[in-house]
């Protein structure tokens, strides 16, 4: 179940827009925050709160790559691999994460600590390669500092 605060937040979202359907993306963010990912149950809750057809809610959610359709680890490592980061060596980092931490793209480490997602451009090309861990930006990555950074996420 979505807790009272979450429900309250969604109710408040509704009045930001002329139509309640528009609150769908922000509501999905809230549901993802609460459930960790968008399970059927989470989608149903959102559909009910906003009184939207369930299939439509799934249709919208599934279009956006930041909405997750499977459980994720405690920390989500979103490493950019687009051109500027690639030029700056992101492919090497992907290999490094795999050999050093056992992290594979689109998978969660067995201890549940990290999920690795290879991202399209995250807007940090000037400080490439870069990644977002959860909601924190980390830029100018190297094989040395990426390890230190990941150590701070348990």
């Amino acid at each position: 179940m979505l807790n009272e605060t979450a429900l309250q937040e969604i109710q408040e979202l509704k009045i930001r827009y002329p139509e309640r359907e528009s609150a769908l993306l922000p509501a999905l963010y809230i549901a993802q925050r609460e459930f960790g990912w968008l399970s059927n149950e989470a989608l149903l809750h959102v559909a009910n709160v906003l009184n939207l057809p369930e299939a439509k809610v799934r249709g919208t959610a599934s279009f956006y790559s930041m909405f997750k359709d499977k459980p994720a680890g405690r920390n989500i490592v979103q490493l950019c691999t687009n051109i500027s980061c690639m030029i700056a060596g992101s492919d090497g980092l992907v290999n490094f994460l795999q050999t050093r931490y056992g992290m594979k793209p689109d998978e969660t480490t067995p201890d549940g600590r990290f999920s690795l997602i290879l991202m399209e451009c995250i807007g940090a090309c000037g400080t490439a390669p870069a990644m977002l861990v959860n909601t924190d930006f980390h830029e100018n990555l190297t094989e040395q500092n990426i390890g230190e950074i990941l150590e701070t996420y348990k």
Binding site: N40, L43, N51, L52, P53, E54, A55, K56, V57, R58, G59, T60, S62, F63, Y64, S65
Partner: protein, 857 residues
Amino acid sequence: MISLIINGKEIDLDTPMSVLDAARQAGIKIPTLCHHEVLKPYGGCRLCVVEVERMPKLQNACQLMAADGMVITTESEEISEVRRSILEFLLINHPLDCPYCDKAGECELQDLVNMYGPTVGRYKEEKRKVPGSHKDVILARNMERCVVCTRCVRMCRDIQGASAISMVGRGNRTKMAPFSAESFNCEYCGNCLTVCPVGAILSRLYMHSFRPWQIDEEVDTICSYCGVGCSLSVQMRDDSIKRVVPKIGAGLNRGLLCARGRFGYEYMASSDRLTVPLVKNNGKHEESTWSEAIHIVAERLAEIKSRDGGSAIGGIASARCSNEDNYIFQKFIRMACGSNNIDSLSRIGFAAAQKYFEDLLGQGITANIIDGLKNSEVIFVLGGDPTAINPVLGLSIREAAMNGSKIFTLGYARGLDRFTALQIDVPVFKEADLLEELVVSVFTAKGVRGEKLDVDNGIRIISEKLSGYYDVNGFNEMKNSLLGSSSVSIVFGPDLVQRTDGHRSIFAVAGLTYLLEARLYLLSERPNEQGLIDMGCVPDMLPGGRPVDIHDFRSKFDLLWNGTVPAEDGLTLLEMMESMKRNEIKALYIMGDNPVFNLPDRPLVTEALEALDFLVVQDLYLSETAEMADVVFPATGWTETSGTYTNLERRIQLQKKAVHVTAGMDDWKIISDLSCKMGYHMSYSDAEDIMNEIAEVSPLYRDLSYREISRGNCLWPYHGEPLRGKINELPSIAESEDTYEADFYLAPDKPLFHSGTLSRMSPSLNRISPEPALKMSDEAADKLGLGEGDRVTFSTSLGSGEARVSIDYAIRDNKVLFSNNFRDNGVYGLLNYKMDRITKAPGIEGCEVSIKKMQEH
């Protein structure tokens, strides 16, 4: 006016439209895949490209608006090349399984590839794997074949208003899916099947059982389930029905169908059909011959007539039978049996409301075109869920809502849940109070109209007793919307008729209709409820709405029918039951209905039928009622016989014979044979012959012929003054100050997937909805400690039933709903009633029910 040239042809347009539509109108075909004429342009497939003079790039015809002076070419080497490459793109990931795919032969992709030529297979990679699903009971999804035209999703969302499926994923990972990804769990209208251009969505009803080109006959007819009467085509191979398909753009449904219409056709081929007449001997049915059975019936009826008089015989007609059947039936009861005791089960809803509305406002007041609903600014829906009772009519309401009309609902209307501006909640069974308040406040605002003095007076009488202050959430909003709109429609369902004071609601709604100049629609559960009234299958009216008790009309019919029409009004349905119990009516003839199961208070009905000396039933199956009959005649049904039906908007349509009949006889034929045996001569060569007579005797069907009816659009709104004399009865303010304090009340549910007891003979509908459910609000379930799917027994003072619990968020009071479709497990039998003294409908409100959870083993 817009003038343009397409392929050298000059085209003039009165209304703005796309180049594609303009071309099609002129008979020029432009290939499309994502476009479908019932849907809005989408522009996804890019096959409809055309050259437009002075435009640099090729343009998409589906989205380009035709403009004055345009010069367009729809076929050229370049265009073909583009189309060929688009098709190549589509084929790279499309499986080449045409030999196996049911769609082959009517696949739009296949046709297009044939037309624009195959391409060299330059694609060497593996084809995309997209999981499909074959877990649904009706619809198979083969998502590898999907061309992502999204027609199904747009149909489901924009036309059906169900939004049960969606495109899921993005880019080339996009596919169509229902929420659960497996079972569709939808309204099963199957309209997605209609629009899927390829074999991505297929029906399991006929999977791998034929090829489209093996269809050897196609008959255009109408659906047999409800009072809408949708047009459809029955496709056959070797005299057996292979499938039912809609015809895009045709009929009042313009190509849409509901689950019953599309998937409910199998009942005709049920092995439970009666094949020979049955005669009861020592309490047991024995097979008989037609001549013997007819002989017995003729003899017994004649005997009772001569002994006890015609009024000792009663007849129950059927809203499932055609106008011709019903016309013959009442003529038989009146002329051969000498009785006006003719009614039908329509009395418990449609017919009762219809009569009182017409008494108040004049004949034809409910003759409004369904299509007009979508142009209403405000629609007030009460007494039932149109999307379940008359699904395709319900779609017009949804369409109106999607175009910005305001929908108000009073009472349960789940299918409109997401489309309503406001659902009005009143204390349980107190709707009439609200409606009287509403009509009085509209009256106060609008003043006397002075056209129907009876109605003006009636409202004035009510107003004297009201407080003028009404505290129901949304009351004022609704009132103001109604007053502020120049096009109001009112959609009235059976629930509010089935009240002891049902006439109060009807009167108030009549008042609103009159004051607001609203269009009134009466929901109609069965296909010929209106026709049956028109044919005179009511105790007080001859065909054409001519009152029995007016001498002039009677003598006209005496002449036409060559005999004497009994002078006195007959008894209505419930009055007949009472009369049978008192042993006054001694013989009952039932054509195509099942009162034991379909009427309230089963013990009472059983007792009444048991008291009879003689009971005859004509039916397709050995129904609960037929089991009690002394003689049972097997009848023919839908697709086996021709006849006309008059739908709720009073459109007269032809239902056509399609299959060869192996058992049973047409209803009218059984009766006319019988009539002859009884000495009243009837001789008709076929149903058309009967219609010719109807056209002669009925002012409502004057000059109507099968030829004209086949052309469609035979609508007969007849705005005469009431033909039935003055209304003597006006409603009075709440006679009973009944209070409703029980925990739960039992009330009928009208489900979408079933209709009467016919649908239970349709395996596919049974697969969609295999067992009845006891529907209740989540609050009620909480209170009872029940969860979705729990098994319960529930009982009233008359008996008990068993079902699974289904929690329904659209129920907002303490009613629990149960349907009346499954054998020996229906709601009506459990409800006791008090008759409304004006409409003669059964008041079934306030029936207390207790619910107990069963142990699962």
